[in-house]
Symmetry: none
Subunit: 136 residues, 2 copies
DNA sequence: TTTTTATGTTACAAAACCTAACATGGTGTT
DNA sequence: AACACCATGTTAGGTTTTGTAACATAAAAA
């Protein structure tokens, strides 16, 4: 785990501070936890302790609630955003690999990109896509 | 405009057929139009006529409604999905690039994909079983 | 045409979701 | 102990979504 990740997940704030930071009531914060949009840590005395990540999530929740999105919708948006992060990271990786290719290969790819431009197809990562690289 | 796009946007079905195709009530369909999740065409006599695209949208709406997402949430998901489609397109393109690479380079990418997948979807892939394919 | 069926709009009510308000009791500090 | 802070539960009220009904118009069938 990286240092910044530790900093972002370290339990730091009691609920009173979080109320001030987010402009949410304690009731709201507990309600969002009850519905598993956040998972703050607990002290030995059962007090909630919130990390910076929790604060970020709560601010996003607040935004979406203000736009009328309900908790089920926020849950969906959060999980679809994780996928987005994944694809963005893959995209970064693909770019890196591409940088290591020869000009010749690059031209081939570029040409296929152009011919495929404007095509939107549903595709997700499946294990089957990788199976040919593994022996069973 | 491409031929398939014309086919997908051509007004074809009256609301009665759409009810059967989607298992939604007329009331629901009209309500979703009222809140601008769909925009079916109209005949001269003011009847709604739905395209294949409209049907797809309604099926997605139905799915999300079944999961408890409200209309504001669906609206957000639809607009965030446009971005998602773009990244999926890039992902698909990344796959194509990958196909043209040596297996050695491929394993590098694959490993980064697996660590990403493991971060969010621990149950679907067992990273441990595959680690023997990668050099540390 | 006349009759029947499908669809349009509007209004009212029920159910579910989210928040606020309050009560009761636990935790921690001084 | 006194006091502030926090946890949990209950109740009530506003909003969103859907069902239902009433009535008008369009399209199809007779």
């Amino acid at each position: 785990m990286s240092g910044s990740e530790i900093r972002r997940t370290m339990p730091l704030f009691p609920i009173g501070i979080v109320m001030q930071l987010t402009d949410l009531t304690a009731r709201q914060i507990r309600y969002y936890e009850e519905h598993q949009l956040i998972s703050p840590a607990r002290t030995e005395g059962n007090r909630r302790m919130f990390s910076l990540n929790d604060i970020d999530l709560l601010l996003e929740i607040k935004d979406l609630i203000d736009q009328g999105v309900n908790l089920a919708g926020i849950k969906q948006l959060f999980s679809s955003k994780e996928k987005q992060v994944v694809t963005e990271e893959m995209q970064k990786e693909a770019k890196k690999v591409r940088r290591e290719l020869s000009d010749d290969e690059l031209r081939k790819i570029l040409r296929s990109e152009l011919t495929q431009a404007g095509r939107f197809n549903r595709s997700s990562l499946r294990q089957g896509d990788m199976s040919r690289f593994f022996k069973s």
